[in-house]
């Protein structure tokens, strides 16, 4: 099952302009429940550092 979503976002180079952007969500469904899920999210520079800050272990446990 795939859903495609459209958004109108601001052009970072010219904030007076907008552009159409798209993203997707795909799931595998079995017996009325999601079993797998894919989407368009990517890692960004520094993201791992962000999540591995020392206080994370505190908030997880």
């Amino acid at each position: 099952m795939t859903a495609v979503y459209k958004g109108v976002l601001s052009d970072p180079d010219d904030t007076s302009r907008t552009y159409e952007a798209f993203t997707f969500e795909t799931v595998r469904v079995k017996d009325g429940k999601f079993t797998e899920h894919w989407d368009g999210v990517q890692l960004a520079p520094g993201w791992r550092t962000e999540v591995e800050r020392p206080n994370w272990s505190v908030s997880v446990r």
């Binding site: 859903a3 993203t23 079995k30 429940k33 899920h37 368009g40 999210v41 960004a44 591995e52 908030s59």
Partner: protein, 320 residues
């Protein structure tokens, strides 16, 4: 028709129903099945239909009940039998082992299933089983646990017992119980007709086996529509994450999002629990679902398996 055909479809309708939060206010599943079979008394019909008008969950269940009823009719028609849409029970003649569980009786009886519905069986035996007895009935591909509701003596030293089904356990890989047919002449056993060794392949049977019992065949159109709605419901759900996870995710759910996968290394969780713990852990630290701010509501397209069909690109040249 085999007993398990009816049982499998009944079980599918039962298991595919979404968990009810306020289940006591919903009409029982049996009532929805009766309504689908046009057997509901007028006064009950109004009550159920008024509930259906505003309850999406029961609308889905009723849709399932309708599919169940329609498939039974298809099966009957394919076998050249009379349309019994107004009848909730379907006649069968099939061997069955009946074991008394409570109160226990260690000598099982062998009988014949005479008719079957989504909620009950009628079995012919050569001994009586008292009302209220809990029994296990083994038929081909299924074990049924139920409670005896009546036991009537017939003219030829046989008894018809009716039981209401408490639970159905399908046994798709289990051996057929043809061997029962040879168990004749023993004290207290019904003499059964030998079963034909050669079986004809009924296309409807094949479809039922594939789609109902094994559940691996391509879903039907209404199932795909329900799956689409499930996806829409998921992204519009604003409630508690734990309830959301329980409602929408299988136990072994996997979120392939790269950020979630890294979170698994931190939370050491897996399955549905991993999604939940990742969300809690990331709260206030990082975004797990970054998509540039595109709102995940009102999708411009929802596509299910098979929606694209088989559209082959035709190549050719225009000739003058």
């Amino acid at each position: 028709m085999k007993t398990w055909h009816v049982l499998a479809m009944a079980q599918r309708a039962r298991t595919s129903r979404m968990p009810a939060i306020h289940w006591t206010v919903h009409p029982p599943e049996e009532d929805l099945q009766q309504l689908a079979l046009a057997k509901t008394p007028p006064e009950d019909r109004l009550r159920i239909e008024s509930h259906l008008a505003h309850c999406q969950e029961c609308q889905r269940s009723f849709e399932e009940a309708g599919i169940f009823a329609d498939r039974l009719q298809e099966l009957l028609r394919s076998q050249g039998k009379q349309d019994q849409r107004t009848s909730v029970r379907y006649k069968v003649r099939e061997s069955a082992i009946v074991a008394q569980c409570n109160p226990p009786d260690f000598v099982p009886a062998i009988g014949q299933v005479m008719d079957v519905s989504a909620t009950g069986l009628r079995i012919r035996l050569t001994r009586a089983i008292y009302r209220g007895t809990q029994v296990q009935v083994l038929v081909e591909k299924a074990a049924v646990f139920g409670t005896i509701r009546y036991c009537r003596a017939n003219s030829r030293d046989t008894y018809d017992v009716g039981l209401i089904i408490d639970q159905i356990v399908m046994r798709p890989g289990g051996p057929p119980i043809e061997s029962l047919d040879a168990a004749t002449g023993r004290d207290g056993f019904v003499k059964l007709q030998p079963r034909k060794t050669a079986k004809t392949v009924d296309p409807v049977d094949v479809l039922l086996i594939a789609s109902v019992v094994f559940g691996q065949a391509r879903p039907d159109a209404s199932q795909l529509e329900r799956n689409k709605q499930l996806l829409l419901d998921f992204f519009s759900y604003q409630g508690d994450p734990a309830i959301k996870a329980a409602r929408f995710f299988a136990d072994d759910y996997i979120q392939h999002n790269s950020r979630f996968l890294i979170m698994n290394e931190i939370t050491h969780a897996s399955g549905r629990d991993a999604w939940l713990k990742a969300g809690y852990a990331a709260q206030g630290h990082a975004n797990l679902t970054v998509n540039g701010g595109i709102p995940l509501r009102d999708p411009i397209l929802v596509m299910a398996e098979g929606d694209l069909g088989d559209r082959r690109v035709q190549r050719g040249a225009i000739r003058s």
